[in-house]
């Protein structure tokens, strides 16, 4: 069933409740997306003020997760949702967990940024880090669009893109390790850059999870732990 209409219930109040939850989810997605962008920016530009803002803002994202969870609990208690409504609630509850963790990863990058600024890191491998960051942000934006439009095809495409994120991360991390061996004095700083790269890779994984929830919501099939080609063949 690809055509989902969450505003067509007999109860207008129920329509509004589901609409509110979707809006809150998309707002949270937007906030998290900005957090990732700003965290990467703060690291690349050596902007301590921006990094501190990112760290502070993470509390707001955590609060949003709790708030949406509470709203979902209320809907389950009051409405006993079924079928696509139930899948929406489940997808929202699971997506916000991943969004909150993406927020945590952004915070980690911002903390590393502060360290690298203090320690005056040379900026080695920033170009590669930026490339990985752009890829991760692009995927996250596409995943959030797929979530907003309930577009399973787009979600599948983004999930597939995660392979590229993984390979880019591997490449960058190997280069950083080589750099560490050659420049032991830079070790501590290079480790921070490696952690930040890992954070980007994890954001990619959480983004892929969100895509799987979009497919679950739209197609009604749980596609976790199934390879992309099989998902494509069996459910699309």
């Amino acid at each position: 069933m690809d055509h989902l209409e969450f505003n067509k219930h007999t109860s207008n109040t129920y329509n509004e409740e589901l609409e509110d939850i979707r809006n809150m989810l998309l707002n949270m997605g937007g906030m998290v997306e900005k957090q990732v962008q700003k965290a990467i920016q703060s690291l690349l530009q050596g902007n301590a003020k921006l990094a501190k803002k990112v760290i502070k803002k993470d509390l707001g994202i955590n609060a949003m997760e709790v708030k949406i969870d509470e709203e979902c609990t209320q809907i389950i208690a009051k409405r006993q949702p079924a079928a696509s409504d139930l899948r929406l609630i489940i997808a929202v509850i699971k997506s916000i967990t991943d969004l909150e963790r993406i927020g945590d990863e952004a915070e980690k990058i911002a903390k590393s940024a502060l360290y690298l600024i203090t320690e005056e890191y040379s900026g080695e491998y920033f170009v590669e880090f930026e490339k990985l960051g752009n890829l991760v942000i692009k995927n996250l934006t596409m995943a959030l669009n797929a979530l907003a439009r309930l577009d399973a095809e787009e979600a599948l495409k983004v999930a597939k893109n995660d392979d590229l994120v993984d390979s880019e991360f591997e490449k960058l991390n190997n280069e950083i390790i080589t750099y560490m061996s050659a420049n032991p004095v830079e070790l501590q700083k290079a480790v921070r850059l490696s952690w930040s790269s890992k954070a980007l890779e994890k954001i990619g994984d959480h983004t892929k999870n969100i895509c799987e929830y979009v497919i679950y919501l739209v197609k009604g099939k749980d596609v976790r732990h199934i390879d992309i080609e099989t998902i494509k063949e069996e459910y699309f």
Partner: protein, 285 residues
């Protein structure tokens, strides 16, 4: 037990099932099953000129609880009443199509409807105990069908039926008291005990808990789950949650047609037909 001589062979292997599903593609899902107690094919019901149910083909499996759901007037109760020929009591009602119980045509001329109703018992929306004692309510069926040969056997059957219906502990000291003096939930369990007492193979339930409070409803639902071990149960309910809780398969009716049949787990999480989705999510205006 006197039964019709007319028997039909029903294909139950997987290939035959697949071809049966293909022949009835207008119903989404799996209307047929391999181990059918009831096999109904192309059933139509008319109330005078009103075509109440249209070309319904559905199997009801042995020892399963199947829930029939759908908006008011969709034909689910009418279909239920076809299964023990309760529609015979309505003069303007005409039933066509094939209804087989264990392969035997229940509408055959040789089929005695009274005996059929002993095999296919019914519990109604509103508890309807007879204006008799609790004991006599349960003993009524066994007496008229001559199921026991002496008082001791009858006592045993009454007790056993009340135990199965989960009522014995509450009434064992007042079996001579009127059945109508019990609470609503107890009365409904008394009606279930009365149904069980004639040792049916199938129990039809037409919204059995809709007049009961949540505790009495929970007891009835628990009872349905226990009865499933020995009986085939067909339940009509307006409560989506109840259908989801008690049944293994669910059939969705809409305007007299059978729209979708599937495993209950699947129907309530991922129905395949748009109308089923709209109904169970409350999207009908």
């Amino acid at each position: 037990m006197k039964a019709s001589n007319e028997t039909y062979s029903i294909g139950t292997d997987k290939a035959t099932l697949a071809s049966m599903h293909a022949d009835h593609a207008e119903t989404v899902g799996q209307p047929f099953c391999q181990d059918a107690k009831f096999s109904t094919r192309n059933v139509d019901v008319f109330y005078a000129d009103n075509h109440a149910i249209k070309d319904i083909s559905l199997d009801i499996g042995k020892s399963e609880v199947i829930a029939l759901i759908g908006p008011s007037g969709c034909g689910k109760s009418t279909y239920l009443r076809c299964l023990n020929r309760m529609n015979d009591t309505i003069a303007i009602c005409k039933v066509t199509g094939q209804l087989l119980l264990d392969g035997q045509d229940i509408n055959a001329k040789s089929q005695d409807p009274v005996l059929l109703r002993a095999r296919v018992g019914m519990v109604f929306q509103k508890p309807n105990p007879f204006p008799k004692s609790i004991y006599d309510n349960v003993a009524y069926g066994p007496r008229i069908h001559g199921l026991t040969s002496n008082k001791a056997e009858l006592d045993e059957l009454v007790e056993e039926s009340l135990i199965k219906a989960g009522l014995f502990k509450e009434v064992k000291d007042r079996l001579a008291a009127p059945g109508t003096g019990l609470s609503g939930g107890q009365q409904q369990r008394l009606c279930i005990a009365r149904t069980i007492a004639v040792q049916p193979e199938v129990i039809l339930m037409d919204e059995p808990a809709s007049a009961l409070d949540p505790i009495a409803t929970a007891i009835i639902e628990e009872l349905i789950n226990e009865l499933r071990q020995n009986y085939t149960i067909v339940i009509v309910t307006h409560s989506m949650q109840q259908a989801a809780r008690v049944s293994q398969r669910t059939a969705y009716f809409h305007l007299g047609t059978l729209i979708e049949v599937g495993q209950t787990n699947q129907i309530f999480t991922n129905p395949q037909h748009d109308l089923t989705e709209k109904y169970i999510t409350g999207r009908f205006g």
